[in-house]
């Protein structure tokens, strides 16, 4: 890492999750989607839990989401992650049972609330694009 980005613990990129962790390279938030019934599957699985189809493919979603719940973390668990920062669980616009744990950025922790409309923004680290979320329509 040659820039001044803070250290991040990164996921292990494998065949089963590469589409998710690298979608940000093309500015896309992607989920595995059942090609027969249209259900989004997260975390990835070899089979659709609705119709048991194995015809699944990654597809981009809008990147719009809603804050389902959040916490302002004050504890320095990991060197390089400087508190306070907001950890949230967001629900994607396309399907209300697909959730992501993420960080809310681009606003003060005090401004985050349940039900807040947010949109994806990506942080590039090595071979991974972490999907973070920010208030819709604002720059980070």
């Amino acid at each position: 890492m040659s820039d001044d980005k803070p250290f991040r613990l990164l996921p292990r990129v494998e065949d089963t999750n590469e589409f998710f962790w690298t979608g940000g390279k093309d500015g896309e938030l992607r989920f595995l989607r059942c090609q027969t019934c249209g259900y989004y599957i997260h975390p990835p699985s070899p089979i659709c839990p609705k119709d048991l189809s194995k015809d699944l493919a990654p597809e981009a979603v809008s990147g719009r989401a809603t804050v389902h719940t959040f916490t302002v973390n004050h504890q320095p668990w990991i060197p390089g992650y400087d508190p306070p920062y907001v950890i949230a669980i967001v629900t994607i616009e396309e399907q209300d049972d697909v959730r992501l744990m993420t960080n809310i950025v681009g606003c003060s922790p005090d401004d985050v609330h349940v039900g807040m409309p947010v949109e994806v923004t990506f942080d590039e680290h090595e071979d991974v694009w972490l999907p973070l979320f920010k208030p819709r329509g604002v720059d980070r």
Binding site: P43, F70, N73, W77, Y85, I87
Partner: protein, 396 residues
């Protein structure tokens, strides 16, 4: 009901401390031998072992001993054994002993849980033993941790805090209400000589201590400790002549009907405890009104609140008003909760401490902290998030 096949015939516990710096296998043997003696048995009678989470090297201090170390140290002849982490909560391991005895695989099963997280952390704090503690060196997160670690959320404190925040949002629950779980635990711990924190705690102390992850402050999080707890689960008709009248298990709860996940679980305000508690009540004619005491997991304060709701001591969403002021859950209240001080003040013995305390109370061995009125029915419940298991206990 198959729960009738087995009983709890003895309990044991090692020394418990913030940091004992002792061999955790030795702590396990201390607890195990105490439980065997309490039951009036000898080690030759033990033909089964059940333990949580089995032998694990990481995270440090999480597992003090596995099946094989205890079996070999005591040279036990086993007909059945099971150690593992994929269970309905920590007490799920004890529930497996019921299944084994019911199926006829064993007569007297030794169940144990040992932690040495206090010593493992030393003076470096929790960060030294969370997943993030291995940062750098090319470490990459796999499995379910890949969805939380990159976002600086390595701890169940973060995940359960978000369950609590959602409860606050939906039902108007407040920090002042949640504080009662911690204050009640501390009050009870003052009467427990083995508790780690026994000094009085006030609402001001609670509101002014540092935040960990909102809405949780330091006192909403349990205290890492060293110690081992053990039980003997015996075939009912093999326990008739033992040292003490056994504690009966009226019903167990082990169900999980939602997605097994800390974040995808559909109703984060209930967690999986909802299903375990519902199953338990389906297997008995007793009702929450019959219960004399409830020892309810408090890895984080909110989990106790969620168990109170799941078990039906109040309606869903009304846990905040129910515990407000603390009188209802006090040792002399309508449903005494965590009479030993819970994990918040007595130490994180990880689930097993609650069953130990429930048996202690039902046997009238609570000493200074004994619940008045000769209690006959108790609940021990453990686990939070996607983990939950509970037992309804009676002394008859």
């Amino acid at each position: 009901m198959s729960e009738r096949a087995a009983v709890i015939s003895g309990i044991g516990q090692s020394d418990v401390g913030r940091r004992l710096y002792r061999n955790p296998v030795e702590l396990t043997l201390d607890a195990s031998l105490a439980a065997i003696e309490d039951a009036g048995l000898t080690r030759d009678d033990i033909d089964g072992i059940a333990t949580y989470p089995g032998n694990m090297e990481f995270p440090p201090g999480f597992s003090g001993a596995g099946v094989t170390e205890v079996q070999d140290a005591l040279r036990l002849n086993l007909n059945w054994y099971n150690g593992g982490i994929e269970n309905p909560g920590q007490l799920g391991s004890v529930i497996t002993a019921w299944a084994a005895i019911g199926a006829g695989y064993a007569n007297h099963v030794l169940c144990f849980r040992t932690v040495w997280e206090g010593s493992a952390q030393g003076d470096k704090g929790r960060a030294s033993v969370t997943m993030g503690g291995r940062s750098g060196g090319g470490f990459r997160a796999g499995g379910f941790m890949q969805w939380s670690l990159p976002f600086g959320a390595p701890s169940a404190a973060n995940w359960i805090a978000m369950c609590a925040q959602r409860h606050f949002h939906e039902y108007g629950t407040t920090r002042e209400q949640l504080a009662q779980i911690a204050l009640n635990a501390r009050k009870n711990a003052a009467l427990n000589p083995k508790a780690i924190y026994r000094d009085p705690m006030s609402m001001d102390d609670y509101m002014n201590v540092r935040l960990i992850t909102t809405p949780f402050c330091l006192y909403d999080c349990d205290v890492p400790a060293d110690g081992s707890t053990a039980f003997i689960v015996s075939r009912a008709d093999a326990a008739a002549d033992l040292r003490k009248p056994p504690v009966q298990v009226e019903a167990i709860g082990s169900a999980i009907h939602g997605r097994p996940s800390w974040d995808q679980w559909e109703d984060l305000t209930t967690m999986a405890l909802r299903d375990a508690a519902a199953m338990m009540w389906q297997r008995t004619d007793l009702t929450p009104a019959d219960v004399d005491l409830a020892e309810l997991y408090d890895g984080f304060s909110f989990i106790t609140l969620a168990w109170i709701e799941a078990l039906g001591f109040c309606k869903k969403g009304e846990g905040g008003p129910f515990i407000e002021g603390g009188q209802r859950i006090a040792r002399d209240g309508e449903i005494p909760v965590n009479t030993h001080g819970g994990q918040l003040s007595a130490g994180r013995l990880h689930g097993y401490g609650f069953l130990h305390e429930a048996c202690t109370q039902l046997w009238g061995e609570g000493g200074e902290r004994q619940v008045p009125g000769n209690p006959e029915v108790g609940i021990a419940a453990a686990g939070g998030g996607p983990l939950g298991g509970c037992l309804l206990l009676t002394r008859r």
